[in-house]
Symmetry: C2
């Protein structure tokens, strides 16, 4: 069955050698004392906890799923989930990146992200219970009144309570402006909430004593559409002032979904039948408030596919070394055996290296963004905070869509390495493919991410945020353009940067004539931008590794091999994508609707 | 739940307008009287049968799967499968393309293929029971002794008995040379077979009274490796001379696999415990004999993904017209509704058109190949038969790998159209994705197909077979190169043809130095060749449709829209693939095995 070794060496390479996070932390007062020793300790403990406690529950969660008792509306999670969660809370993992004011450890977001990579690699379905909790924590932290924060945040920090985000209704997912759940004001300042939500991840379970639902609903007389939506706190048990549990609220699980993957997570239908809730943030500004949680969730989804990609890679790598089948075309490589291990075959290596490069690229990008969030939240200089916020805004849709599309490809390639055995449940690899599929859909489909990037993040400010990233690329190209040993990386990076600039202008001009040109170009555009980001990060990693390739540490040799594979076999996708992005909307609109 | 309308109009377009099969049949004595009226009747009956009888069993088969009784070794198929199979036999469907000598209807392979498209679209798992039977029929027809043919073929023709191919063992799939199952000669001319097989599709079931296993095994003193493998007929019940059932043979199902998809098909572990078998074909020539069945099966797998692609497209198309969500970026298109149907959004159209173009391309290719098989089997001219055989040999790996890779992409895009609802089992779309995944693996993984194409079919005869296909392209380009209205299709087709020729020479030269260059280039090479074939077929379809676009039949308008989409959004993949195919093996070999 599944095995996993946390890729600590590569995590440390990204944190300390690529991103030099200690230097960044020196400018962030609350993290000034977070040093490498402390981080290593957390990473090593995290590796032990996730591998020993969470990983063994991955297959059983997939096999058994969650069960709803229709009489009590209570949900039982797969065997072992609850006990593992108790250990998670006991170990203080939930509190890692929470504010010390509420009992948290106040550690950097990037360190928490690294722990989440490991959690996701071991068991995405399980990791979604604490993952959504942390999102709810952030939303309450940003928008809660002081008394709301005081009441809820310590329990979310400890993990004793978990959180959810209740947005979707059966008739509206992407278009939340159509939602119908109603909130009726009560004399005591609370609201009665009535409506039905679907697709609520971690929506009901037996792992924590209370669940804090953050629910989107309409106030009476609210404007129609997305400008009339408010956000409410709807706890499963209504807490007393001392956070002890009071009455059971009338928010119930009315059904669980049967899904392609993430069976261990309870995807709940939630009925609110006059449930008591409290307004969170401003009336009619609920969508904006929820976006705090959604942006965190989008980064979280990228981390999920990073975890699955790494885990699937590791399974395939082990199999490719062990499985003997056929001889190398260039002559036997293991003449003592009846056949060669399949890792000698070039296309098996291509599949493995594809998964590996997507994992290493995703790790570099997500840790980079997480560090930028730390800068945004706490840097001593306001301009630095603003720049970081822009970088996070720009790259969030890329983290979500590019990494999850690649994760789908990577897990499928890893499965292919197993041949027929890959299709069998007991082998343990096809679950990664099924689990990875949801990441392209939820928290805004990847099409929505691409529209967010091209429409909202790039074109709406005339490329200002994109130019900020472009400057990083330009600076690297200028600093290293004359170094012949780096030309194999710098030349295609500079070339792609120029092409993306031109493409952006071209699509922008076309969009003046017809806004649908944005929709026609957005998906390939996002992948081109994703490749630019990866090419930049891989080129930086190559520079570091070239300088240390004779250090005796084989890690740098392996890194260079992966980077070279990326540039020669994955980056060429941009040649296709640019043609697709330039193809225009006319060819998509030529077919009349009735002829589909 | 799932719906399906057999795409009869497009099937007829391909058969009668693109391929002009009646003209081909005129040169094939046994099909000289197969006219359009007869074919239309079969297609319409086939559409009715598959949609009414087979389609309703697709979801239930996925949900319930097959069950093995460990005491009796008997397998129960999902509810309704057996009854549907009885109707299939009763309707004479099994006999469609079988020889009249054995009770068949002697109709063309291409007509049978069209029926299989519909069967697969309705229920791939079910269709595999008759599908493998027909493969066994062909193998026995080609290699059986007269008395073997007389005994087995009538029962396989009627469908009263079904067939299997027993190749894989747990330690060998791709590399059958390592197989261990033993055949011991008996005094009466039969053999005792001992061994264990896995992954036997339709390996045991309750749908037919007898199962004819074709089993690969080793004779005593046979040479090691693939040159020491023989093929045996091992019936579940040993038939008497009059084909009545005799003793139960000791060939048993010892387990069923739990799989990602095709749950309705019994993927069996088969134990042969001194089972009685009879040699089929020559001793130690079993692999060659089995290749008759395998080649048929490879075309069959392409047909499976064609069916799934069409079916998934139809589900997504219906949803995209019904589901309202968000407004078009260029202004409301359904102002009377609270939101626009999602088919107005350019990227939803891209996903739909991707699936549609892959379906229409696959239909053209598979019907083309099937017609070539009819020519190969029965044309009055020997050279015509030889040319057709070369075409079938060349294109078989493309049918298998290109169509199934595209089917995986198409079903996944179709699922994405559904947003969150796509991930839910009850929606019925995610099953197509899971079912489609096996098609990239079995009957030779898609990597094996690519090695077969580039190594065995192209380089080993210095491109002779490829040149035969190239001549078709060249001829079309010469005939239509001066027609400006066709330039949008002819120019990229001619360009790709030239590039493939150059690439073939380049890889061939590199392979002289290092055979592993073939393995490094083969997968992208196959997809480039696949695109050349599709570009050729789509260009021909465009020519026909342009000539008839003012006929008042909207079919031609829709065809042109699909073809233009293919050329502008799918064909550009070749820009990536050519770079990948040229990247060479060094970048794949740079990573030492121990550093993976």
């Amino acid at each position: 069955m599944a095995h996993y070794t946390a890729p600590l060496r590569d995590m440390q390479f990204v944190l300390y050698e690529l991103l030099d996070v200690e230097k960044e932390f020196a400018q962030i007062p609350q993290h000034a004392e977070t040093n490498r020793e402390l981080m290593d300790q957390v990473l090593e403990e995290g590796a032990r906890f996730t591998t020993e406690v969470i990983l063994p529950l991955n297959a059983v969660g997939d096999l058994n799923g969650c069960h709803l008792d229709n009489a009590t509306h209570e949900v039982t999670t797969p065997k072992g989930f609850k006990q593992a969660y108790a250990k998670y809370v006991e170990g203080g993992w939930a509190a890692l990146a929470c504010d010390t004011e509420f009992g948290g450890q106040g550690l950097p977001v990037v360190l928490n992200s690294a722990v989440y990579e490991m959690l996701n690699a071991c068991n995405q379905a399980w990791a979604m219970y604490p993952g959504l909790t942390h999102g709810a924590y952030e939303c309450l932290q940003a928008h809660g009144l002081p008394e709301q924060r005081k009441l809820y945040l310590p329990k979310l920090t400890s993990g004793e309570w978990t959180g959810t985000m209740c947005l979707t209704e059966s008739h509206c997912g992407t278009d939340l402006g159509m939602l119908r759940t109603k909130a009726t004001p009560q004399a005591d300042g609370s609201y009665k909430i009535d409506g039905n939500k679907i697709f609520i991840s971690s929506g009901e379970h037996d792992m924590a004593e209370n669940i804090v639902h953050l629910v989107l609903a309409r106030l009476p007389d609210s404007p129609p559409g997305s400008k009339g939506i408010s956000l409410f706190i709807v706890p499963k048990f209504i807490p007393n002032a001392d956070a002890s549990l009071g009455a059971r609220n009338s928010v119930y699980c009315s059904g669980l979904e049967h899904k392609m993957g993430i069976h261990g997570n309870a995807t709940a239908q939630i009925s609110l039948d006059g449930a008591t809730g409290w307004l969170l943030g401003q009336p009619n500004k609920g969508l904006q408030a929820m976006f705090v949680m959604m942006n965190a969730a989008r980064l979280g989804v990228g981390m999920q596919s990073l975890g699955l990609t790494e885990a699937a890679y590791q399974q395939a790598r082990t199999y490719a070394k062990d499985r003997i089948q056929s001889r190398s075309l260039s002559g036997p490589k293991a003449p003592d055996k009846p056949a060669d291990p399949i890792i000698v075959h070039p296309d098996v290596r291509r599949m493995l290296l594809t998964a590996r490069a997507w994992a290493e690229g995703a790790r570099a990008l997500t840790y980079f963004i997480a560090t930028q969030i730390d800068v945004e939240l706490g840097h001593s200089d306001e301009d630095a905070r603003k720049d970081a916020a822009d970088m996070v805004a720009l790259l969030t849709p890329i983290v979500k869509a590019f990494i999850t599309d690649n994760g789908w490809q990577a897990t499928s390639e890893a499965m292919q390495v197993f041949g027929g055995h890959g299709f069998i449940w007991e082998t343990g690899i096809e679950q990664y493919v099924r689990d990875a599929r949801i990441n392209m859909i939820y928290e805004g489909t990847n099409t929505i991410q691409s529209l967010d990037l091209l429409g909202r993040k790039v074109l709406s400010d005339n490329g200002a945020k994109l130019k900020k990233f472009g400057k990083l690329v330009q600076q690297f190209v200028e600093e290293n353009g004359t170094d012949e040993s780096l030309a194999e990386f710098v030349t295609p990076l500079a070339d792609l940067g120029e092409k993306l600039t031109k493409l952006t202008m071209e699509v922008g001009m076309k969009a003046f004539q017809n806004q649908d040109e944005v929709g026609a170009a957005a998906v390939p555009y996002l992948r081109i931008a994703g490749h630019l980001v990866y090419a930049y990060l891989f080129a930086r990693m190559a520079k570091i590794s070239l300088a240390k390739q004779d250090s005796g540490d084989d890690f740098y040799k392996a890194k260079l091999a992966t980077v070279r594979f990326y540039f020669s076999r994955l980056l060429p996708e941009t040649a296709m994508l640019i043609r697709q992005a330039r193809a225009g909307v006319a060819v998509l609109q030529q077919m009349p609707e009735e002829l589909f």
